[in-house]
């Protein structure tokens, strides 16, 4: 516990001093803003771009605000996840490769505390980024379109946060397992794609698959997801996260010999 707080302080300092606590949320805010702004200006852009017959009148249906927030989540699912992978692929692997980890590993280091400190800080920054990103999306949707129920937004963001935690766990564990950041990113990407693909192809009946969490999150906006499926998916996600934390601590310890001396 004592080592955990010492290492947490180190991780915070790193993330503050390399400006990650600013630029990661900034990208998510940007993603959150883009969707409502583009939707708002789309009719004007299309009309002014010409190519339409003179005098033709086009009716653009105003999209419901819920649809815009769901589209924001789509952005997070692609660009957002890539940003998180890039931001944290080197969190363990980079320290070993540069040799900065050596002076930690030669001490009586608790590897669970070491891994957990990295996971907690990466998770905190990722979650806050996603939250402010949704908040920005919500704000612009409210400004240009209409209100989304606060409760619905809250439930959606909460459900999506579990998914974000799962992804961050995969990234940090991959970083602990792989010899460098690039390979960690490749592995994390591969796992992410395989998860999406298998669930897309065969997962129709797997209602408690955690890969469906983003889907269930979006469902809060329309109606509400099936509570049994949601609980099951969250439970399984929590178990996988727990397993990844144990695996990550173990593989960090196992790989300590690979630090550059």
């Amino acid at each position: 516990m004592k080592q955990f707080s010492i290492l947490m302080q180190k991780e915070w300092r790193e993330n503050i001093r390399n400006y990650k606590i600013y630029w990661v949320p900034a990208i998510f805010i940007l993603l959150g803003i883009t969707e409502p702004v583009v939707n708002f200006f789309l009719p004007q852009i299309l009309q002014s771009s010409g190519g339409l017959p003179e005098g033709a009148v086009f009716e653009f249906p105003t999209p419901p605000p819920e649809q815009i927030l769901a589209a924001v989540m789509e952005q997070f699912q692609t660009i957002g996840m890539a940003v998180l992978i890039l931001a944290y692929m080197g969190t363990v692997a980079g320290e070993r490769k540069s040799g900065t980890a050596t002076l930690l590993y030669v001490r009586p280091l608790s590897f669970p505390a070491y891994f957990l400190s990295k996971w907690v800080v990466a998770s905190a920054i990722s979650l806050v980024s996603v939250w402010v990103g949704f908040l920005a999306g919500y704000y612009y949707t409210l400004l240009f379109f209409d209100r989304v129920e606060g409760m619905e937004l809250f439930q959606m963001v909460g459900t999506y946060s579990i998914w974000v935690l799962l992804i961050v766990s995969i990234i940090v564990a991959a970083s602990a397992a792989m010899p460098n950041g690039g390979l960690a990113a490749a592995v994390a990407f591969a796992i992410y794609l395989i998860l999406q693909l298998t669930d897309g192809l065969f997962g129709a009946a797997w209602s408690i698959s955690p890969v469906k969490l983003p889907q269930y999150a979006a469902a809060w906006l329309a109606d509400s997801p099936d509570s049994g499926s949601l609980t099951g998916a969250i439970g399984i996600a929590a178990l996988i996260i727990l397993a990844l934390l144990v695996f990550g601590s173990w593989i960090s310890w196992k790989n300590k010999a690979k630090t550059k001396v």
């Binding site: 080592q3 790193e14 590993y105 001490r107 630090t259 001396v261």
Partner: protein, 293 residues
């Protein structure tokens, strides 16, 4: 009293063996120099002692409660931490109480000569400063055993002198095991020598014992010309060797003492230019031992 015993320590990578059958003992508060050419297995051995690498076979036995400080050959620091922040963290991770850690860290940085650079980010440090900081993080928790991998090789002569003096100060109450290929320094601070080559220990012992075994020291008497030298050598009963105008008398193997030689010389009528004691340097001994194996 021994604080660390190494028995038949071996590290293999596949078929290649980096360290083979290494055995030695570190006595409390002594300095041991681990000497060998590049690739001899010095770093691998130290990494195993520091518990970074696990041995393929063999045993390391340490005294109970032994605390270790380790300085790698090229220590790397988190560039976004200041020297004080890093050293304080190192102290805390080694078990120093949080309240005392900062004071202990700043004292240690003062000791290694980084007082004025304490609050600078380590990313801006020069090689020499990094080496000093490396030493600071290794000693901040006052470990009983210090493992130093080439602690002075990367330094300029002044820095080398300063670090050597720091190490000698530390040596009074710390056991030190350090690797080096600069043999002058080893001669200066060593109770035990370990020569390594190709992963194996090829010679070990105290500086005196190793010298006795390999250095064949002798007394050298220089004359004005070869004739005088030859004439003098002819009158001697001791074992001797004549080389031009110089007579060599081996000291070991029933050789004469310096006093006996001086007595003989005091009544000598020949022109004697000088008498001195000659012994091989550690470097010569090392080259000899390496060549022999």
């Amino acid at each position: 009293m021994s604080i660390l015993e190494v028995e038949k320590l071996t590290k293999r990578y596949g078929q290649e063996s980096a360290v083979e059958d290494l055995s030695f003992v570190l006595e409390k508060e002594t300095a041991t120099a681990l000497i060998g050419p590049n690739g001899a297995g010095k770093t691998t051995s130290l990494s195993m002692l520091a518990d970074l690498l696990s041995p393929s076979s063999g045993k390391i036995t340490v005294a109970e409660g032994l605390t270790i400080g380790f300085l790698p050959q090229y220590p790397q620091f988190f560039p976004w931490l200041t020297a004080l922040e890093f050293t304080e963290m190192a102290a805390k991770l080694s078990g120093i109480e949080s309240k005392k850690a900062r004071l202990q860290a700043s004292r240690t940085l003062g000791f290694v000569g980084l007082e004025s650079a304490m609050n600078k980010k380590t990313g801006t440090f020069s090689g020499g400063m990094k080496q000093r900081l490396g030493l600071a993080q290794a000693i901040v928790h006052q470990p009983k055993l210090l493992l130093l991998d080439e602690p002075i090789s990367a330094l300029d002569p002044t820095g080398r002198r300063e670090i050597m003096d720091l190490l000698k100060a530390l040596q009074r109450d710390t056991t030190i095991l350090y690797s080096t290929h600069i043999l002058n320094d080893a001669e200066e601070m060593t109770d035990q020598l370990l020569f390594m080559k190709d992963g194996r220990l090829i010679e070990q012992g105290s500086l005196n014992n190793v010298k006795k075994r390999h250095a064949s020291p002798h007394i050298r008497i220089r004359f004005a010309n070869p004739n005088q030298a030859a004439e003098f050598a002819g009158r001697l009963t001791w074992e001797r060797e004549l080389k031009g105008a110089v007579v060599f008398l081996p000291v070991y193997k029933n050789g004469p003492s310096m006093q006996q030689v001086l007595e003989v010389l005091s009544s000598e009528k020949q022109d004697i230019l000088g008498v001195d004691y000659q012994t091989a340097s550690l470097e010569e001994i090392f080259l000899k031992v390496v060549a022999a194996k």
